[in-house]
């Protein structure tokens, strides 16, 4: 079936929501309340379009496509309609963009520049509402910046079903709020920050840390558990300081995480910024160590397929028994995104036929003189008696080792991982080079 948008035919299915068709085909359509993973609500009226044969402009989020529908999104008269609606949305807005954390990724700002550009008609004082309200779970609320799109309310009502947020009051004084003594409290709460199209909900963790236009972004996959939620890593490198990761944002993937992330995963970016010491080692002494008779290696189940493959080759060359053990945490998973397997690529480990037998590993460990740890958490904290340990690591090691090689973490690596449902996903490295070498290059050097 075909519809015609701004004189261009677009292929779509009968009965689809018009706004969805427009968004999926890259037609710019301003909107606040509609969200592809929250559905339509029809309260903001920003997505007005003209439809041939209809007397009045229609909202695209409540129009279903039908054969030969002719839609205009950019005519002069429809822009005038959008301008009027925007003026109402912005009526009581404090226009404090210079101190607002959302500036640069704010829909109000964008649309004002696209359709607004008017002088305020308001002669009475603006309505004052609450500012810098701590809602709990790292979420801060500024009620004056809110456009009452209710995305956050619909998220807590329909998605997490925890119902912490609601609209209170009415008319000019209606505002988003939590009930007294009932703060926002669920493991997915910080999604509301990302859902908020304006600067009303901001993250306590990120706000005032960095202006968004100074950040670079790279497509990656969260390594917090085996779900493999799609993310953007937002990072930058400023003068005289190393690259720093500032936040994870969700990247839409309909099959896996829609547009959402758990708070644990969202905040796990902090691990990527940790600094730790490594020993620098000459080739000779390293090879000396590898001459040991009985050797065992343990590889992290969060390594990418490429890294696992390189480790496998390396172990084969040096005749090292290679194992990988899963990270299991029964208390971590839930019935939505979080899984009990807190490693990123255990499916990949199994696919590469790396042994995962705990008993076998223990018996090999017992009889080995040398243990090579490829970033596995178990051997970062467990002290081993009478054994030499070589560690390749992305984080701090608590135990004594013969040698510690720092390697680049997943923000600085590109690779492929397979999630718990067998979906293969690529992730990419940030554009700055990490101080620590990439594992694959390091292993090539050590061969």
């Amino acid at each position: 079936m075909k519809i015609i948008v701004d004189n261009t035919p677009i292929e779509c299915k009968e009965g689809e929501l018009l706004i969805n068709v427009l968004l999926n085909n890259g037609v710019e359509i301003p909107h606040f309340c509609y969200h592809q993973d929250l559905g339509a609500d029809g309260n903001c009226r920003m997505c007005m379009v003209e439809i041939k044969g209809q007397k009045r402009p229609q909202v695209a989020c409540d129009t279903f496509v039908c054969e030969n529908l002719e839609v205009f999104t950019k005519t002069k008269s429809i822009n005038e309609v959008k301008r009027s609606i925007l003026e109402l949305e912005l009526l009581n807005h404090p226009v404090d963009c210079p101190i607002c954390d959302q500036a640069g990724e704010c829909k109000l700002q964008d649309y004002y520049m696209d359709f607004g550009l008017y002088n305020s008609h308001l002669t009475t004082p603006k309505t004052k509402k609450g500012k810098a309200i701590d809602l709990g779970s790292n979420v801060m609320l500024d009620q004056e910046r809110c456009v009452l799109c209710t995305r956050c309310v619909r998220f807590t009502t329909n998605i997490t079903k925890t119902n912490e947020l609601g609209i209170i009051g009415r008319g000019d004084s209606s505002r988003v709020a939590v009930a007294p003594n009932r703060p926002l409290n669920n493991p997915y709460a910080m999604n509301v920050v990302e859902l908020c199209p304006v600067g009303a909900l901001t993250s306590k963790d990120f706000r005032f840390a960095q202006r968004v236009w100074f950040l670079d972004s790279v497509k990656s996959v969260c390594h917090g558990c085996s779900r493999g939620c799609n993310i953007h890593i937002d990072y930058n490198e400023t003068k005289y300081s190393d690259e720093k990761v500032y936040r994870f944002r969700s990247r839409r993937n309909k099959q896996i995480n829609q547009s959402f992330l758990c708070d644990y995963g969202r905040l796990s970016y902090r691990e990527l910024n940790e600094k730790f010491n490594s020993t620098s080692w000459g080739m000779e002494s390293f090879k000396e160590l590898l001459r040991a008779e009985k050797k065992v290696a343990l590889v992290s189940p969060s390594f990418s397929l490429q890294q696992l493959q390189a480790v496998k080759e390396f172990c084969k060359n040096y005749n090292i028994e290679l194992f990988s053990l899963p990270y299991a945490d029964e208390s971590f998973g839930d019935d939505w995104l979080k899984t009990n397997d807190t490693s990123a690529n255990f499916t990949g480990v199994k696919e590469l036929n790396i042994s995962t037998c705990q008993d076998k590993f223990n018996s090999f460990l017992e009889s080995s003189e040398l243990v090579v740890n490829f970033d596995h958490n178990l051997l970062k904290v467990k002290e081993l008696e009478n054994k030499k340990v070589i560690s390749f690591t992305t984080s701090k090691i608590e135990i004594k080792c013969e040698a510690v090689f720092a390697i680049a973490n997943f923000a600085h690596e590109s690779g492929t991982i397979i999630n718990c449902d067998g979906i293969r996903q690529d992730f990419y490295a940030t554009k700055y080079r990490c101080e620590a070498p990439r594992l694959i290059e390091l292993l090539e050097e050590l061969q």
Partner: protein
Amino acid sequence: MSFSFSEENNLKIASLMKRYPQKKALILPLLWMAQKQDGYISEDAMQVISEHSHMPYMHVYSVATFYTMFRLQKPTKRVIEVCRTLSCELRGSQEIKKHLLENYSDSYEIVEVECMGACSGAPMCTLDGKYLENLTPRLLDEVLNAN
């Protein structure tokens, strides 16, 4: 929980439940009931109502804040509601309001409200929810000083 509906109100709730096809329709009548019982709607009362109506607490709270006639704070003074609508205005409610504000605003909470349907006795006000009609400043003094 420190709030529970009285015996009598529980009987009323039972008959209300039969009246509405959906449980959530109970929210408004129960909010009224709680306010009548305690003089205001406490957090505990809203919790009880959310259980009765099978709606989330936040929803009950939203509804309670939507209507300005629901009181969510315990009143510290007795409440006088003065009508500010047409009939009372024509019959001199301005004078009544002025008299109240000048003499009684320390000991009573004075609120202006819309028509309470007692236009035949305009100007009128309520004291603790009871109607006082055909008011004059003298009549007000008499009643308020007697109480």
